[in-house]
């Protein structure tokens, strides 16, 4: 891939209910922070991409609500409906195609809608939707399938909650830092067996933005770039019955593409840090395995040995992850931003020493059906 870099990042604080803010207010805050971070004004931006979803926003053409706030006036602009990793991937494409700089932003206000109804709407209206299936109940089926296949225990899943909620104390943007023990997680009520309340992410309000630039523009800036080394994305089957839910085929395929572009042959050795999709604790374990950071079925033990802690050999979700803040479409973009900050050495209190190569993951659809993987690095 031709060199492309993230040259500016911006996030709002993630909160349960930012009732004072419209979608536009959130987007403007994130975009102006990203521009400031890049040392740019809106005039330095050639093209804009946005990320929103008509269901989550309760608006057809949801991008209309932020057309002023995203800075796209008199610029080419488009919208990717899906996780921020996918939208930002398309931003990279536009820069590779010849645009110098692209501002990409995504927003979400979970406080304004009823999440089970909205995630129920991703299931087939003829065969599945009437069951009341949603993101939580479908995840429970997947968690059980995965845990049964590899003998993963609820204690092993609980470690993820303890670790990531703890990490969130050092991230000023995170919504839900919690001091927890494994016993606390195990004692929390079942939402859908085997998933308990403290295995679940919250629902968040917030927005994030990045400025992506081609090599020439990136090098002319004072801003520290985080270079995009590889991007892969891939989609699995739709009907849950068509998949072996314990497997991570799409994630493995996406990783393979991203690692090949980045020249990574042994991710377990070459990746220094990962920010993964942990809306439910078991998903972090599956992600670690799917990204090739440990062998299949071993992420529980890998985590138990402290490898994925902030001071571990391969920190995972040092930011606190989605389980601490889950602004759905923004989630994957936040993972990219965290990786960029870590590579730049700008992650503040949760900075991990010596991060040269970092991996971010994002997800669309039921049970991680569509997966996107980014590899970021410190060198062009």
């Amino acid at each position: 891939m031709e060199p492309v870099a993230i040259v500016g990042v911006g996030m709002t604080k993630f909160e349960r209910d930012r009732v004072r803010d419209t979608f536009g207010d959130l987007v403007f805050e994130a975009c102006t922070r990203a521009l400031d971070d890049a040392g740019m004004t809106i005039d330095d931006i050639d093209i804009v991409l946005t990320g929103s979803n008509d269901f989550f926003d309760g608006r057809t053409i949801s991008s209309m609500a932020i057309m002023d706030a995203c800075g796209s006036y008199d610029k080419n602009v488009s919208t990717v409906e899906g996780d921020g990793t996918f939208g930002a991937a398309h931003a990279v494409m536009r820069v590779l195609a010849g645009w110098g700089t692209c501002l990409y932003c995504a927003h979400h206000k979970g406080s304004e809608s009823v999440m089970p109804l909205i995630t129920n709407a991703m299931f087939d209206p003829i065969y599945e939707r009437f069951l009341g299936i949603d993101s939580v109940t479908s995840a429970a089926l997947q968690a059980r399938a995965y845990m049964d296949r590899y003998g993963v225990t609820e204690e092993q899943c609980a470690q993820v909650s303890v670790k990531n909620h703890g990490n969130a104390f050092k991230n000023p943007y995170a919504q839900l830092p919690l001091q927890l023990t494994i016993e606390d997680v195990l004692a929390s009520p079942y939402v859908a067996d085997p998933i308990k309340l403290l295995d679940c992410c919250p629902i968040s309000d917030g927005a994030s933005a990045v400025v992506i630039a081609g090599a020439q523009r990136a090098k002319a800036l004072d801003a520290k770039p985080a270079w995009v080394k590889g991007i892969g994305y891939n989609c699995d089957a739709y009907h849950l019955g068509d998949r072996d839910l314990s497997k991570v085929d799409a994630l493995q395929a996406a990783s393979k593409t991203a690692y090949a572009q980045a020249g990574i042959s042994d991710p377990a050795k070459e990746v220094d840090l990962a920010e993964v999709h942990d809306t439910f604790t078991y998903l972090e374990l599956m992600a670690i395995e799917g990204l090739g950071l440990c062998r299949m079925g071993e992420a529980g033990e890998f985590t138990a040995f402290g490898n994925t802690a902030q001071d571990g050999r391969l920190p995972v979700n040092a930011s606190g992850g989605c389980i601490s803040s889950n602004p759905v479409l923004v989630a994957g973009l936040n993972s990219i931003i965290e990786c960029a900050l870590q590579i730049r050495g700008d992650a503040g209190e949760h900075q991990v020493d010596g991060v040269k190569t970092a991996v971010a993951q994002g997800v669309n659809g039921p049970c991680g059906q569509s997966q996107c993987v980014w590899v970021l690095g410190g060198d062009e």
Partner: protein, 397 residues
């Protein structure tokens, strides 16, 4: 390495009908995809990535990209969804173009579709607008367009009959298009006698509600010679989505010397500069324009530079935009004949591709070499693409 030129090497479309009860949404998508794959001499295996789009609330499906894999062929492949309202189809085309132009993918499938029969179109469109400011009073897409039509007539002296000419022209053209929804020989009197929906817009001035899908295969210049059809090359793309509130687009229009349709005019300027268009009526051999209602066929011609301000009626009545004219507009019958919203912008691109490839059948404009395709939607937003027979000199971003 570096940016790539991209061409269209395959096109597939379903027949456009008011209701396709014989297929589910996924099956409708698959019908277009199979046609596009056949047309480009490929199978599902050959596709590197997919871009799909529709408007969520027309079918009530969240995450259409993941829901549709059995129809789109995305199993085990990269897919993303792009949605911008009425411009969705053209947005998907641009998205697929950029997938190829980036050098990341060689063969990219663009899919636009809609089953408008599955919901209340007006109800779903209203929810596009701001829940505080606009939605309580918004009169739907028809009423929004009527406001523009009133303004246009008041300032130019254009008549309802002038607009009816456009509806007659496009639906007559549709007779030559076996895929079109409304195919009829009509006349101005017949359009004028249809009931008002929102004065001055009548039933006969409006596009229909349609079920349909379209799929288009974009390929990189590196492999563009490997297909049965010669490529239709993308010469340039540009868009502007300027506004977010229903009332915003009317602001500039009434100002003397102001412009009709700022988003379209600004996108047009950028695109024509990139591609080298100075006299569109002479330089384009064909145009497939997203005209959601008849008055657009007057006013948007001005914003696209085909004539002077207020010159729309004279232009269309001169016959220059008819089949056999200088630059036939909508040989396919256009949006006034078929409007499966998420497919509509992509159909414009597909139709121009077929024209410059010389494969448009009974609706072919003889010798067409260069064409313009547009998408309209959102809040008076405009997407525009120039597609030609000749390979462009360089990749243009």
């Amino acid at each position: 390495m570096g940016a790539k030129r991209a061409g269209i090497v395959g096109v597939g479309m379903t027949v456009q009908r008011s209701t396709r009860r014989d297929v589910s949404g996924v099956e409708l998508i698959n019908e277009a995809v199979r046609a596009a794959l056949d047309d480009s001499g490929m199978t599902r295996k050959d596709i590197d990535a997919i871009v799909i789009g529709n408007m969520d609330h027309f079918e009530g499906i969240n995450y259409v990209d993941t829901w549709s894999v059995d129809g789109s062929g995305a199993l085990g492949k990269p897919i993303m969804k792009m949605t911008t309202g009425g411009t969705t189809g053209s947005t998907v085309a641009m998205g697929a173009y950029y997938h190829v132009a980036s050098g990341m993918f060689d063969r990219v499938l663009a899919i636009g579709w809609e089953k408008n029969s599955e919901s209340d179109t007006t109800g779903a469109i209203i929810t596009a607008f701001d829940p505080f400011w606009d939605r309580p009073t918004f009169g739907g897409a028809v009423a929004g367009l009527a406001l523009e039509a009133t303004q246009y007539m008041a300032e130019t002296g254009a008549t309802e009959e002038d607009a009816a000419y456009v509806a007659v022209r496009d639906r007559k053209n549709a007779i030559n298009n076996p895929f079109a929804h409304l195919r009829m020989e009509s006349n101005i009197e017949a359009i004028m006698s249809t009931p008002y929906l929102a004065w001055p817009v009548k039933l006969g001035d409006m596009c229909p509600r349609t079920d349909g899908a379209c799929a288009v295969v974009f390929a990189s210049e590196d492999i563009a010679g490997d297909f049965p059809n010669v490529p239709a090359w993308v010469h340039g793309v540009a868009d502007r989505h300027l506004w977010g509130y229903t009332s915003d687009p009317y602001v500039n229009q009434h100002v003397k010397g102001g412009t009709w349709f700022p988003a379209m005019e600004r996108a047009t300027r950028e695109l024509y500069d990139k591609v080298g268009i100075t006299d569109p009526l002479e330089q384009f051999d064909v145009a497939e324009l997203y005209l959601p209602y008849s008055f657009a066929g007057l006013r948007y011609m001005e914003s696209l530079g085909f004539c002077e301000r207020a010159g729309g009626p004279a232009l269309v009545r001169s016959g220059d935009t008819d089949m056999g004219g200088k630059c036939p507009v909508n040989p396919s019958g256009g949006v006034l004949s078929s409007n499966a919203i998420g497919a509509t912008g992509l159909l414009r691109v597909a139709e121009v591709a077929l024209q410059v490839q010389g494969r448009a059948g009974d609706r072919q404009v003889p010798g067409a070499k260069l064409g313009l395709a547009t998408g309209f939607g959102g809040c008076y937003w405009s997407d525009e693409l120039v597609i030609g027979k000749e390979k462009p000199e360089k990749a243009r971003g």
